[in-house]
């Protein structure tokens, strides 16, 4: 008997549903946002250069689509994500400087508040392991929580951002187009931002072409610089992306103004004191100032630091301790020029000028 009733009820339910389509009663729900039907939303192809490692980002969880990417880009360049309405992600991450900011040393946020760290380049994020200088975010999808809520960055709350997006006349439609159903949710916002950011692949520099065996030749200086780099830098700035993804103390004197303890803030462990993520050096010629607090203006300053500016501390990386008790690397002036020539081969102009990522 019960089964019977159940079958009837399913039947009734189907009838109930199908009467949706008879058109007679539509136009009732006023506050229903119309989603234009049949908006095509093609999957985008994340092209991985053949000399690159496998992505660390699980693309199957959030495959970039045309509409998702566009939404992510709009969010990235929208000041609505900040409390004052004017600071967007793109304010601190400017494409032509490989998405860094260099009119200021450390970053500037809402109301001109000054952060304590130098904005990092955004590139090859699908291949990174931890995010921020100290690895404070383990996943790219959660990283934007930090800038959005940080007092000296965007100083906003996630709930408030969502409210503003929900009230906007365009976003609800764009969210629906990107994700197939209605709903402005935090998950979708983070997914869209990630879709935009993981597409930022910088992999067409002279160095890449050289690695892939394409027809480029290094000049004598570039080639000499490359072998010095192999010998003195690549133990940390390793591989195609010039990072082994580890956290290390490279001997920067502590800046008393910020007294940045680095990785220790995340782990609480004294052995991580003053350790920072080994950064990729891609596009390094465009991302000055250098180091986590932007203390060096030029690559030459960086190299002079590696030879003459290092200070000792318990967590200083062992590679910088020499047998004779001194610290630092030994690099001649000529070698420094050669290293810089090599570092400039890491610039990917196609990426810096790629219209897909540009604000306008």
């Amino acid at each position: 008997m019960k089964k019977y009733i159940y079958i009837i009820s399913i039947f009734v339910f189907i009838i109930g549903c199908s009467s949706d389509n008879d058109g007679g009663e539509s136009a009732v729900d006023d506050d229903y946002t119309e989603i234009p039907e049949e908006v095509s939303n093609n999957l985008l192809n994340l092209q991985i250069p053949s000399n690159f490692p496998a992505p660390t980002y699980d693309i199957s969880q959030n495959p970039p689509t045309e509409k998702g990417f566009e939404l992510g880009k709009k969010l990235f360049y929208d000041g609505k994500l900040s409390s004052t309405g004017v600071i967007s992600c793109g304010f601190c991450h400017i494409q032509e400087f490989s998405f860094t900011h260099h009119t200021h040393i450390t970053s500037h946020g809402v109301n001109g508040r000054i952060g304590t760290r130098n904005a990092q380049p955004l590139q090859n994020l699908a291949f990174a392991q931890d995010f921020n200088w100290d690895g404070a975010a383990s996943f790219l999808d959660a990283q934007p929580i930090i800038p959005i809520t940080a007092e000296d960055e965007m100083n906003e709350s996630i709930s408030n951002v969502l409210r503003k997006l929900q009230e906007d006349e365009n976003y609800p439609i764009l969210f629906a187009q990107a994700f197939g159903t209605e709903g402005v949710t935090s998950e979708r916002m983070f997914k869209a931002l990630s879709q935009f950011m993981i597409m930022m692949v910088a992999g067409n520099s002279k160095f890449d072409k050289w690695q892939r065996g394409e027809s480029v030749t290094f000049t004598t200086d570039e080639e000499a610089g490359r072998s010095i780099f192999e010998a003195k830098c690549s133990s940390c700035h390793a591989g195609t992306l010039q990072t082994d993804h580890s956290f290390r103390n490279n001997g920067l004197p502590i800046d008393p103004e910020f007294n940045d303890i680095g990785r220790e803030r995340v782990t609480g462990s004294p052995e991580d004191n003053r350790k920072f993520k080994v950064p990729s050096l891609r596009n390094i010629d465009t991302t000055f100032p250098y180091m986590h607090d932007g203390r060096f203006r030029t690559l030459r300053d960086v190299l002079d630091f590696y030879t003459n500016g290092m200070v000792n501390s318990p967590t200083l990386d062992a590679q910088f301790r020499n047998a004779d008790g001194t610290i630092g690397l030994e690099i001649s002036n000529t070698e420094k020029e050669q290293l810089i020539a090599f570092l400039k081969t890491l610039t990917d102009n196609d990426f810096l000028l790629d219209q897909r990522f540009s604000e306008f």
Partner: protein, 250 residues
């Protein structure tokens, strides 16, 4: 027309519920009520209690995150509650937050419940559905905004050391430390008498959290030694271990 159909439909469902017996296979719900205790007494915010180090402590704020709820049947088969819907902040100050209603649970007789303390940091955030929990956690003050990580427990108050007269503040914020140290704990509780779940029975269980065990569990935490425990690789894992054993069900 549609309305009438719906009416018939709901009548049908009601009828089918009415005719329930032991063979009801319709999904049901379970209400979990969290009670924060000090031993066998109820925790009262702002009221002094004493820990095993003879320190008098007053809890002014207590919040923790519950996640990943799974129910296990006698035969070992499991019902995994939709993970994205399983995140909740239990806040001592807000009685509605202490009542977690799980709906649409497969019918069956269950004898064990498993849940997480905190947010599993090893799981990919999209896969584990935590990204939609961000606003809730944020509003409850359970986000470490500088690290995009969660405070699994936020317990704050004051304490007076043994033989002391002055009271000092204490702060306990335990979470995972990036990918470095995982303080997420899974808690499995045997349900004394089995719970039968189907559409006809309204089941409810009380889960007690003995707050005193934060200090006096397998590890002793003496506030006089350290009263500000945040991103603390030594004390945070000890507290997480204490908390894992501090839940019980009746």
């Amino acid at each position: 027309m549609k309305k009438i159909c719906l009416l018939i439909l709901s009548t049908c469902i009601l009828l089918s519920c009415d005719s329930d017996d032991n063979t009801n296979r319709e999904p049901g719900s379970l209400e979990l009520r969290f009670e924060n205790k000090i031993g066998s007494e109820n925790l009262i915010l702002g009221t002094p209690f004493t820990n095993s180090s003879n320190e008098q402590y007053v809890v002014n704020e207590l919040k923790y995150i519950i996640s990943n709820i799974t129910l296990t049947r006698k035969d070992g088969s499991q019902f995994i509650y939709p993970v994205a819907d399983s995140y909740a902040v239990v806040n001592e100050e807000e009685s509605s937050s202490k009542m977690i209603t799980l709906t649409n649970i497969d019918a069956g007789t269950y004898d064990r419940i498993t849940f997480g303390f905190g947010v599993d940091p090893t799981k990919y955030p999209i896969e584990s559905g935590t990204l939609n929990f961000v606003p809730t956690a944020e509003e409850a003050g359970m986000l470490w905004s500088w690290s995009a990580g969660y405070k699994f427990i936020k317990m704050e108050g004051t304490y007076t050391p043994e033989n002391g007269t002055e009271s000092n503040d204490f702060v306990i914020h335990v979470g995972s430390h990036g990918a470095n140290l995982d303080n997420y704990k899974e808690i499995e509780l045997a349900i004394g008498e089995d719970i039968k779940i189907n559409s006809a029975t309204a089941s409810s269980k009380i889960i007690s959290f003995d707050v005193s065990q934060v200090f006096n569990g397998a590890n002793t935490i003496r506030l006089e030694d350290k009263a500000d425990i945040q991103v603390d690789p030594i004390n945070a894992p000890k507290i997480a271990q204490n908390i894992q054993a501090a839940f019980s069900i009746n």
